[in-house]
Symmetry: C2
Subunit: 333 residues, 2 copies
Amino acid sequence: MVSMKEIAQKCGVSVATVSKALNDKDDIAESTKEMIRKVADEMGFMANASARALKTNRTYNIGVLFTNDDAGLAHDYFSIILNSFKVAAEEEGYDITFVNHKIAGRESTYLKHCEYRNFDGVAIILADFKDPEIIELAESKLPAVCIDYEYYNCSSVVSDNTKGLLDIVRYAGSMGHRKIAYIHGELTDVTKNRLMGFYDGCREQGITVDPSYVLQSNYHDIEQCSECTRKLLQLEDRPTCIICPDDYSAMGCLRVLAQEGLSVPEDMSVIGYDGINMAMINGMTTYMQDSIGLGRIAFRKLADKIDHPEIPAEHSVVFGKFIVGRTVAKIGD
Amino acid sequence: MVSMKEIAQKCGVSVATVSKALNDKDDIAESTKEMIRKVADEMGFMANASARALKTNRTYNIGVLFTNDDAGLAHDYFSIILNSFKVAAEEEGYDITFVNHKIAGRESTYLKHCEYRNFDGVAIILADFKDPEIIELAESKLPAVCIDYEYYNCSSVVSDNTKGLLDIVRYAGSMGHRKIAYIHGELTDVTKNRLMGFYDGCREQGITVDPSYVLQSNYHDIEQCSECTRKLLQLEDRPTCIICPDDYSAMGCLRVLAQEGLSVPEDMSVIGYDGINMAMINGMTTYMQDSIGLGRIAFRKLADKIDHPEIPAEHSVVFGKFIVGRTVAKIGD
DNA sequence: TACAAAAAAGTAAACGTTTTCGTAAAAAGG
DNA sequence: CCTTTTTACGAAAACGTTTACTTTTTTGTA
């Protein structure tokens, strides 16, 4: 690896001059800069990020927390957010590195890992938000941004979950559905907001919610959602429309319906959530979250926080879009 | 950030002793080590990766090349490989950072980026293998491993593409199919091997391949695959079975068949490739690549190369598994 | 021409580690 | 009790940058 020292020698100037020339400082003559840049190119010079970081306390590297549980990077919804975050970050010269809790092979904490790597900031994209280690990280001094979760002094970007469910229920209502079931995910903030939207929507339509129509499953869990679907089918007074926690677990719902010989949407209407690729291809009626927007805005928030650590935490909401597919029937005429 | 200097002061020893104690060198008394470790813990000490890297020329950071084109990180097949690579790497104390060709916001090359960040090695997981920048990277001194592509002096891990197609054709043959179409991807090494397996299988079964049954599409391209499917349907003598480039683009094939009012598998059999989640859920007959194995083995190869740069490039093959789904009918009885 | 001001370049310390080499003290050997 | 070996630790240089400060050179002005 050729270093500034070698360039300095070849150019007959000091190392400081080389550094300043390559960083385009204004106390170096333009002619000297050009000469140095030319030689640096010829010699195939590349700065050393470690040395630079050591001196400047800035790595231009962002930590990303993305759990390996569940589908990990293959998660159909969060992987898109991550990709969009990555694209935005690279656009502005940041690299991204995954945060884990090992350092040099031995156990550590997420926060320690970030300190070790000197990340300029961290994005908590997919994680168990109740994990004390995650909380420690979010509440630390390190600039951070959370996706789909709000901590007190950590910026966040969340989807408009309340409106999402409201739109869904309104649509179902407009199609004549009065018996609407909602299989929701674990009771996180996201779910609570969606439930709020669900109840609001029902109230608006003058629908009294049958408590047995509201079931708890888990996000991204096909089996659980299948199980809940079976329960709904066993009810004396079946719903006519089932809202699933997300498009992926909705596959479980669809499978059970197929097994029971029910066709969608003729015998049962189904609505998903997220707008993942597979759902769109298969004509699922769903609420498409703006995952690309989520990732991009999350990066922006984080970059702002890195540049201006004094700005207070901000909580942004990103709006999605209701998608009319082929899984909801018009009924009751 | 508390540094070794502060610990040294508090302990009344030198910085060198602190470093050696924390790195468990054997010229430090056990009692001293314990004392230093205790104080370090109390003070919340965390080493500085940049400083360490500067001194040791080792970052324990691996660069991962994963293009943003196409689906990017949301790619149903490669994201699983990446995840498995990530898990394996983290297991052994490596971090992973994405490689791009920007440094501090200005254009650069992939190789330069790796030099800048001092990666110990690089994994080329999803990329345009004909891009000169990628070739430069693969052929460089930097320890590297490629997935699904072979360069001369770069280790690689590839899937058993020939056997994959052989198994597929054998199965189709065993189900009575003699008119088998193959929509393949771009003419890469992967495709060439698959074509070899395809022709081998046909020969084995005594099937003369009708040239109009072999069409070129692109991987992961639903539209192209739809288009090819339409072409096949227009043939006077239609095939009875269509093999698609991959499970994802097979969705295009299925959609066209549905549009034409053909049911699968009664009117047309369809076989995919990859064994992605969506395909498995939907009962697709396909060849499941061992993507988890691919990622894990790729990491192992890379780690070995990092530890022993002198070992020559190795090319490993990972075997997959044929999956019998519900998209191929038995015919001809 | 002389001198101040501005421009250009250099000096040296610092960032936080690791590691080689040196040395004092302790232990072992005779 | 003296010499040799071993053990435990420290001093200092080095990794490749950046940057505050100083020095030298050039330019401008009277």
